[in-house]
C-alpha cells in the first residue's frame, strides 16, 4: 500500500491504517532523530510525539502533498526543539554506535579512530549540509524531498551535499 492508500483508509475512519504508516516510517524517523539528539530514550519519545502530532494533523493534511516530507519536517522541528532546550553536554556518543567490519585489533583501532574523526567532522558541518548529507545517505530522500523538509530548492540541497562531501574529504584526506 502507498502512503496515499493509507491516508484514504484513515480518512474513511479506519484507524488501523495509521499503524501502516507507523510501521513504514517509525524506524527511519527514529533513527534520524537519534542521529540528531544522540540519546535513544529521548529519540524514542520525540519520535512517538512526532507520530502523535501526525495523528492529530492527518484530518487536515492536504492529500496532494507528500506525507513523507511532511512527517520528516515535523520530526526535524521536534528534534531541533529538543536540541535547543536540552543542556549542551550531549555531543559525542560512543564509538560503539558505529558498526564496522571485523578486522584485526590494530586495524580495528585505526578504523575506530578514523570513524570517530569522520563522525566529529560530520558534526562540525554547517547544519544544512549535515542534515542534507544524512537525509540523502541514511534516509535516501531525494533532493526534492530534502528541499521540502529543510527549505530551499533541490539545487541548493544538491549543492549542500556536494559542499559537505568536499569538506569531509579535505578534512579526512590525511587521517586515513
Amino acid at each position: 500500500m502507498t502512503d496515499a492508500d493509507f491516508l484514504r483508509e484513515f480518512r474513511k475512519g479506519n484507524k488501523e491504517a495509521f499503524s501502516g504508516l507507523v510501521e513504514k516510517y517509525s524506524k527511519p524517523i527514529t533513527m534520524m532523530i537519534l542521529r540528531m539528539v544522540k540519546d535513544l530514550e529521548e529519540a524514542r519519545d520525540i519520535s512517538q510525539t512526532v507520530f502523535l502530532k501526525a495523528y492529530e494533523g492527518l484530518p487536515t493534511f492536504m492529500m496532494n502533498s507528500s506525507f513523507k516530507t511532511w512527517l520528516y519536517r515535523i520530526a526535524m522541528n521536534a528534534a531541533n526543539d529538543y536540541i535547543r532546550k536540552r543542556k549542551p553536554n550531549i555531543m559525542v556518543d560512543s564509538m560503539d554506535d558505529f558498526a564496522g567490519p571485523a578486522t584485526s585489533p590494530g586495524e580495528q583501532l585505526d578504523r575506530s579512530r578514523y570513524l570517530e574523526q569522520l563522525k566529529r567532522a560530520i558534526e562540525e558541518l554547517p547544519e544544512k549540509q549535515r542534515l542534507t548529507l544524512q537525509m540523502r545517505i541514511y534516509d535516501e530522500l531525494n533532493y526534492k524531498e530534502i528541499a521540502k523538509v529543510l527549505g530551499g530548492t533541490a539545487g541548493s540541497a544538491r549543492g549542500n551535499f556536494f559542499q559537505a562531501t568536499r569538506t569531509l574529504r579535505l578534512k579526512l584526506g590525511n587521517v586515513k
Binding site: 507507523v22 517509525s26 512517538q48 558505529f98 558498526a99 548529507l133 551535499f161 556536494f162 574529504r169 586515513k176
Partner: protein, 189 residues
C-alpha cells in the same frame, strides 16, 4: 569531446557516486579522469568517504522497536480517549468553533444595527395608548384618578366616550373622597 576542468570534474564525480550520470556526462568525466591523476585520487577518496558515511549508527534492536510500538499504541489510545471524552478536545469543536463564532458575530451585528435603526427612529417603548386610555378611563370611573400622570394616557380617551382625567380630577366629589380617605382616624358609615 568537450574538455572540463578539475572543479567541474569534482562536481560530476560526486553526482556520479551519488545519483549516477547520464551516458554523455560520464564519457566527459571518464575522459578527464584518464588524463588527471589527482582527480582519480579524489574520486577514490570520495567513494571511500561516502561508503564510510553509509556506516550508520547501530539499530537499537527488536526489543526496542517492540516496546516502541506498544508504548506508541498506548499513547495513541490515550489521545483518542481524552479527545473523545472532552468536548473541547474533539475535532468537532476544533472545526465547529468557526461557524459558531460567525453565527454569534452575525447575531451581534444584527442587534447593534437594529438598536441603531430604532434609535434613529426615536424609538420609545411601545404603548397602546388607545387601550391604556380605555383601561384608565374605566378605572377612573370606578375609583377616580390616581395620579396626574394619567393625563398623558388619556389621549384619545375622549374619542372613545370616556371622560378625560382632568375633568375627573376637577370633580369635587371625587376630590373630597380622596381627601376624606387620606385623613387619619376618620370614621366612615
Amino acid at each position: 569531446m568537450k574538455k572540463i576542468d578539475c572543479g567541474k570534474a569534482e562536481e560530476l564525480m560526486v553526482t556520479d557516486l551519488d545519483e549516477g550520470l547520464g551516458h554523455g556526462k560520464r564519457l566527459i568525466l571518464e575522459q578527464h579522469l584518464s588524463d588527471c591523476a589527482s582527480c582519480r585520487e579524489m574520486r577514490n577518496e570520495t567513494r571511500s568517504l561516502l561508503s564510510d558515511i553509509t556506516t550508520d549508527i547501530q539499530d537499537p534492536g527488536d526489543a526496542f522497536w517492540q516496546y516502541y510500538r506498544v508504548s506508541l499504541d498506548a499513547r495513541l489510545r490515550d489521545k483518542d480517549i481524552s479527545s473523545s471524552s472532552l468536548f473541547w478536545g474533539t475535532r468537532a469543536w476544533r472545526i465547529g468553533w468557526k461557524p459558531v463564532g460567525v453565527f454569534v458575530t452575525a447575531i451581534l451585528i444584527f442587534v447593534v444595527i437594529s438598536v441603531g435603526i430604532f434609535d434613529t427612529w426615536n424609538f420609545r417603548p411601545y404603548i397602546d395608548s388607545t387601550l391604556s386610555a380605555q383601561l384608565i378611563g374605566e378605572l377612573n370611573q370606578l375609583y377616580g384618578p390616581v395620579t396626574d400622570e394619567q393625563a398623558y394616557f388619556t389621549v384619545g380617551a375622549e374619542e372613545l366616550g370616556y371622560p378625560q382625567t382632568s375633568q375627573l380630577i376637577a370633580d369635587d366629589s371625587l376630590v373630597e373622597w380622596f381627601e376624606v380617605e387620606d385623613e387619619p382616624n376618620q370614621l366612615f358609615l
